[in-house]
């Protein structure tokens, strides 16, 4: 069994976990969400083993590099970080139903990696600019940050869906209290902000060690900075009176759109790389 096969299987395990969480919510059976959690842990294990296996395979091919350098690998890793973060939150907050709003995202990222025909799962060697430990630090922290924002996004949707006066015993009344969701959103945003900050910083230290410029206003860099600004705005809005709950949820959704654009959308922009003469894709891991 090779890594891509294992990761394809993982995709279906994650799908199953989401189904269980959603079923538990709709049919009001706690046992289903508990099962969902165990399936999620199984998927997470498969995801972990898949990444490690891919690492080993790259050594067998003679390239020997961390499996974090192209779209396929980054999406797989994105699922992994989201799953890890979500499991931690579920454990810490002892709230299970919130999985309904997080597990589908975990599934979607890895499904996109496994199923999209435009994303190749081939292991390719690393060009010189990417051979840096900063690269690993950069990718890991960026995706931890994205995971925080993704989970915050899921919770924001939950907040907005919950009616002010859910009927007793209704589907919506099973969601956590507004205060808890609000705090969860902010916790996730803070987690994401810290790691996006470290991600941008490690990326810029890496750029400085490879190219002698820590910041070059490359579209990818600029978009990650825009994302960072959006969440800095969220943080300050929350410190101003009156910005809680619904409004913060909207800002968090906008922030996540910026994340998605940084991740996928930048490739659609006029790709003018400041260092085109290098024939290297600048900051390619994020592409």
């Amino acid at each position: 069994m090779n890594s891509s096969m294992l990761l394809s299987i993982t995709t279906f395990v994650y799908a199953l976990a989401s189904v269980f969480y959603i079923a538990s919510w709709t049919f009001k059976k706690d046992i289903l969400s508990k099962t969902g959690m165990f399936i999620l842990v199984a998927g997470f294990t498969g995801n972990t083993v898949g990444i490690v296996l891919r690492w080993i395979e790259s050594y067998q091919l003679g390239y020997g590099r961390a499996p974090l350098t192209n779209m396929y690998e980054s999406l797989v890793f994105f699922s992994w970080t989201m799953a890890a973060l979500y499991l931690f939150v579920e454990y810490k907050y002892r709230e299970r139903i919130i999985g309904v709003f997080a597990t589908p995202l975990i599934f979607l990222a890895i499904a996109y990696a496994s199923l999209s025909p435009s994303i190749s799962s081939r292991i390719t060697p690393l060009i010189p600019a990417l051979q840096s430990n900063w690269l690993i630090a950069h990718v890991v922290t960026c995706f931890l940050g994205y995971a925080g924002f993704a989970v915050a996004f899921g919770f924001s949707i939950m907040y907005l869906m919950k009616p002010d006066m859910p009927g007793p015993g209704s589907l919506m009344s099973r969601l956590p209290s507004f205060d808890t969701i609000d705090e969860l959103i902010y916790q996730m945003v803070m987690f994401g902000f810290l790691f996006l900050t470290i991600g941008i910083i490690t990326g810029s230290v890496w750029a400085n060690s490879a190219w002698g410029t820590y910041w070059s206003w490359d579209p990818k860099e600029t978009w990650s900075l825009i994302t960072w600004f959006v969440y800095a705005i969220l943080i300050h809005l929350r410190l101003m009176r009156g910005w809680h709950g619904r409004r913060i949820s909207w800002v968090s959704i906008i922030g996540f759109m910026a994340v998605l654009f940084t991740y996928f959308g930048v490739n659609l922009l006029p790709g003018l790389h400041s260092y085109a003469f290098l024939t290297l894709d600048f900051l390619p891991i994020l592409s």
């Binding site: 060697p125 051979q131 803070m190 810290l194 600004f229």
Partner: protein
């Protein structure tokens, strides 16, 4: 006196404008939204490119707004300046207060404040009030000191006891219960300031870098020495203050054809002496004399050990001769001499560029011996087009050997056919040379930013209060807790403490 200052400050509309978090939100919003423009419109391209892409009218509009170099435009810089002033003023404004909280002259707690808190646990226990108090104090002291242990400041985690009902007229301690307060992490309130200062440091470093630093480029052929580099943009020559020699350059490839490593061996020469030799690869630059040299590109400069295959049309024999640039060799079969002149990047043949190749001159022994076919017109210089026709001493025939088309010279239909058999490339290495005295401020900002975010997001100033009151038939206990953030965590802490107190 401090009061006076803050009073005048508070009344000052300019001061109020800059202390407002609203301004922060507006400025950050403007920074975020205008930054988008620079990712939609390519930056720092040529005028021709822009006119072709956007037309004259939009070109004029955009360039009057500095859109083509927007991250360096006056209005973008102005936004950054506004942000900086905002941070400075706001922090000064808040710090006075925060400072008082963190370093109070006298630590005092107000039970009323705690009684209004949402996070609380109420329960009854049995037993003696003083015992309960002592036990509770022991537990709290143990718990809160461990959370504070990492911090050497004594004030933190200090447990003060306030026995509100504990004295009667005789001075004897009553079984009146008491209140225990504990706290930890006062200093974490400083985290926000660390974050804000780090933003200032990074901006200061960026300014220092653009004022006192530069970015430049130089290409050094293997074996050659240069003394300076050329600024990006203006191409102005900037001397290093020393010389730099490229000893060698090498590139290795994976079997897939992807490049694996670019490596240059560089030597710093000062006053004629080699002072430092170092290999650089991408991601591992050479730093010397305040400058950094980064491996950033490479190319073929020329070649050495060029092996030529010379085939005689007459005898059909092939000969291989190794030759260097500028060297003249005797032709086989005593047919004359051949000189290898140069390596060219491009070569025009009837309007086509034949690409990289070698150029040499063949001088036949007998002037008319190798006329070649003039109609081929392969000479680069038109004035030499009819040589050999005259009976004067011929400068010879120019021979061009393109790398891409090895048998090209056959078409000349000369007496000899020249072909490149093999050669060693002589590379040049392309170095990005930067001087950035601001980078260490930026890096210091990075470190502070991460530390500050960590402190503000994951640590907090926590306070608890345990109120123990005697009740008929037992003891009433209430635990209140508050924290600057993570109320869930505080709730759990309070619940855990309650559990401990309940189990005797």
């Amino acid at each position: 006196m401090t009061k006076k200052i803050s009073k005048t400050r508070a009344g000052n509309p300019v001061w109020n404008f800059f202390t407002s978090v609203k301004l922060t939100v507006v400025v950050l919003l403007l920074l975020a939204s205008t930054s988008v423009i620079g990712t939609l419109i390519p930056q720092n391209s040529s005028e021709a490119f822009y006119i072709q892409k956007y037309g004259e009218v939009f070109y004029n509009l955009f360039s009057s707004l500095d859109i083509f170099d927007m991250y360096g435009s006056w209005w973008f810089i102005l936004l950054l300046v506004l942000l900086s002033i905002n941070i400075v003023v706001c922090s000064m404004d808040k710090l006075t207060n925060t400072w008082k909280i963190i370093f109070p002259q006298k630590v005092n707690f107000n039970i009323e404040r705690f009684r209004r808190l949402k996070i609380r646990e109420c329960f009854d226990i049995k037993g003696d009030v003083n015992d309960a108090l002592a036990r509770c104090e022991g537990i709290v002291r143990g718990e809160w000191q461990t959370t504070v242990k990492e911090d050497a400041v004594l004030k933190e985690g200090a447990v003060s006891k306030e026995n509100a009902l504990s004295q009667d007229s005789t001075g004897k301690t009553l079984m009146g219960g008491g209140v225990i307060f504990a706290e930890s992490g006062r200093w974490t309130r400083l985290g926000v300031y660390v974050v804000h200062v780090s933003v200032l440091l990074m901006l200061a470093g960026a300014v220092a870098g653009s004022v006192w630093g530069y970015k430049s480029f130089v290409a050094i052929p293997e074996g050659e020495t240069v003394g300076g580099s050329y600024l990006r943009g203006t191409n102005e020559y900037i001397p290093f203050g020393f010389d730099l020699r490229c000893n060698s350059f090498s590139v290795t490839f994976y079997d897939t054809g992807h490049p694996e490593e670019f490596k240059s061996s560089l030597t710093v020469i000062k006053e004629g002496e080699d002072v430092l030799t170092s290999d650089i690869v991408v991601n591992d630059p050479l730093r010397y004399g305040g400058l950094s040299f980064y491996q950033s590109s490479y190319g073929t400069h020329s070649a050495r050990n060029v092996a030529l295959k010379i085939t005689s049309s007459g005898s059909g024999m092939s000969y291989v001769k190794v030759v260097e640039f500028g060297q003249t060799i005797d032709m086989p079969e005593s047919a004359g001499t051949f000189t290898l002149n140069e390596f060219v990047r491009g070569y025009n043949f009837r309007g086509h560029d034949l690409g990289e190749g070698f150029v040499g001159t063949f001088i036949p022994a007998s002037p008319m011996g190798d006329r070649g076919d003039e109609s081929m017109g392969i000479q680069r210089d038109e004035s030499m087009g009819d040589k050999g026709d005259q009976n004067v001493v011929s400068p010879g025939v120019e021979v061009y050997m393109p790398l891409k088309f090895p048998s090209f010279d056959k078409m000349r239909r000369g007496e000899f056919i020249f072909e490149v058999d093999s050669y060693e490339k002589k590379y040049y290495t392309g170095l990005q040379v930067t001087k950035d005295p601001g980078v260490w401020y930026v890096y210091a900002g990075f470190v502070l930013m991460i530390m500050g975010c960590w402190i503000t997001f994951f640590m907090s100033h926590r306070q608890i209060c345990v109120e123990i009151t005697p009740k008929p038939g037992g003891i009433g206990v209430t635990i209140y807790g508050t924290s600057t953030r993570n109320s869930q965590g505080m709730k759990l802490k309070v619940m855990r403490l309650a559990k401990k107190l309940k189990t005797p």
